[in-house]
Subunit: 336 residues, 2 copies
């Protein structure tokens, strides 16, 4: 069992800065992140993207920001559990929490700080009653890691954005048959992709069904047919299909956090802005994962939240002890 003062769920920029603020108050931190490296979205999704709104950085690359934050936390020697997702949070008593990851790692802490960003990105699913029967390799897939498996297959794609359009174009070259089903007559994708799809529809290489949606799935242990309903005329078509690919984009989800008894609002954790505490004493939420009146999902706001949280966490860990803040410009940094 790993033991620490503060367990921080999420090793993005705000979780990292929390290590610094807690460290100034002599609290040790352990960070847990589902991603294989610290930095959160900045390192995983857009490491080379410039950021313009970090105070006193006219421009900074996302990964550079992460590197600087890592360097700033160094004196406080944070420890990490990476590539694991916290599944369970148990409050044994005040100042005694136990976290458990999907791989069974256990972390004991006095305080829990949730800095999970936008949470876990999960695919948006269409409302089809039996869709889960065909998930996990039985014909329904929401992301396309290996396009080659669709070669010479009968494919039905649903969606009206860039992802649906791009994959329809790409797979029309290798699939046996391909159909694109879209609820509206207008696409949200870039005009160039729309034009390409339209041309291939004219050429007979793509079948397009507008104002339509897939309403039923059928098959014996594996997908064989989809039922498409025209939402204007209510007419129904049956189509043979080896694969149904609903590509409606990814949506951030809180994941297991939703089941920890925290007050949730609009897919975020409600906090008290006096210290960014949640409804569970000893559990805080900072950064993009929390919500309050006028919340702005900016990294710089998470930094402020980390600072106020750390002072409250100190009081929670040391009830009755008064702490007088020392300014780092006066006393410098004493590592842990």
């Amino acid at each position: 069992m790993i033991t620490t003062d503060v367990a921080i769920i999420g090793a993005g920029p705000v979780g990292l800065f929390a290590v610094f603020e807690c460290g100034l108050l002599r609290m040790r931190c352990h960070l847990i992140d589902y991603l294989p490296q610290p930095g959160g979205q900045l390192s995983e999704i857009y490491p080379k993207k410039p950021i313009y709104d970090i105070p006193a950085y006219p421009i900074v690359l996302a990964q550079e920001l992460v590197n600087n934050l890592m360097k700033q936390t160094e004196p406080f020697k944070p420890t990490f559990t990476l590539g694991e997702r916290v599944e369970k949070l148990t409050k044994v008593e005040e100042r005694h929490f136990v976290l458990e990851t999907n791989k069974g790692t256990q972390i004991q802490s006095k305080v829990v700080v949730i800095a999970g960003g936008l949470g876990v990105f999960e695919p948006r699913k269409p409302e089809i009653s039996n869709i889960t029967d065909f998930e996990n390799g039985k014909g329904v897939e929401y992301i396309i890691p290996q396009p080659e498996i669709y070669r010479d297959k009968k494919i039905v794609i649903a969606g009206g954005g860039d992802s649906a359009l791009d994959w329809t174009i790409y797979l029309s070259d290798i699939a046996k048959e391909i159909a694109l089903v879209h609820r509206s007559e207008n696409f949200r994708g870039v005009p160039d992709s729309v034009a390409k799809v339209t041309k291939r529809v004219k050429d007979g290489r793509i079948r397009m069904l507008l104002n339509s949606q897939v309403t039923d799935l059928d098959g014996n242990g594996k997908l064989e047919k989809v039922v498409v309903t025209n939402i204007k005329t209510n007419e129904k078509y049956e189509m043979e299909a080896d694969y149904f690919l609903p590509l409606f984009g990814l949506s951030p989800k809180l994941g297991p956090i939703e089941n920890w008894g925290l007050e949730i609002e609009k897919n975020a954790i409600k906090v008290n802005t006096e210290d960014y505490s949640t409804n569970i004493p000893g559990v805080y939420a900072i950064g993009d994962i929390n919500t309050y009146t006028n919340k702005l999902k900016l990294i710089l706001c998470g930094f402020h939240e980390a600072a106020l949280m750390s002072h409250s966490a100190y009081k929670y860990i040391h009830p009755g002890i008064k702490y007088t803040m020392k300014y780092t410009t006066v006393s410098g940094i004493q590592g842990l």
Copy 2:
């Protein structure tokens, strides 16, 4: 008359970052500062001091931080009135404020943001009923810009800190007579200075009165005598004095801001943490000059406050218009 969207009182780090946040929302800013250059205390008091607690800066020199903030505000072309102090704030009607400085400069704005840091540093004064009669060149002085005027004069210094001790030592070389009056028996100054003073007292070069304070001043148009009272025995002494120098340190004061009808608490402006607005609609207070539950006087907190303030100011200027935040990582920076 200078006209702008947002008048920012104080050109320290938080005032400068407010220019950036307001700029993203297409609001122009004009800054007014009593100091001759932007940067506030960072540039004026400790430009070469390292700061360790700016997020993603493991270390940064105060002036370097100011330079980076100046660069970040550049696209939004802020304008400045420097070396002037705002004396008057008049709210003509909603979205129409007029500010006036000590030099008569007038600034008209739709919103006022007070980012005045710790305010103006003023000397702590002893409680002597007629002390003001002898201020302004008539014998009582709180700071010592020109020590030469004390040559061959009779000086009484009051205080027990480094400033009182150091000036007593320095002036004992040039004054005709010098006395140090201190309320306690213990000095707060560094041991070396205390030892030096003690030695000169023994040598008869300094007269020291402990457990004592100056309780009365006397003179005809100019200081001639001070009355010192021993606070243990209540005995009174009269001493001839050309100058009385109470050196009790400097204390930050709000100055003229105190008279603008703002809710003040503990020498700071009370704000609503939902948007850092004051009790006067259209007037905000951000950074060290504001107060709220759990306030931390950290630059990084002022940055967050500037962000939330700017969105509220936008709504105040444009009632009924909904603004959708664009992330700078997506859309970049469009200057003004």
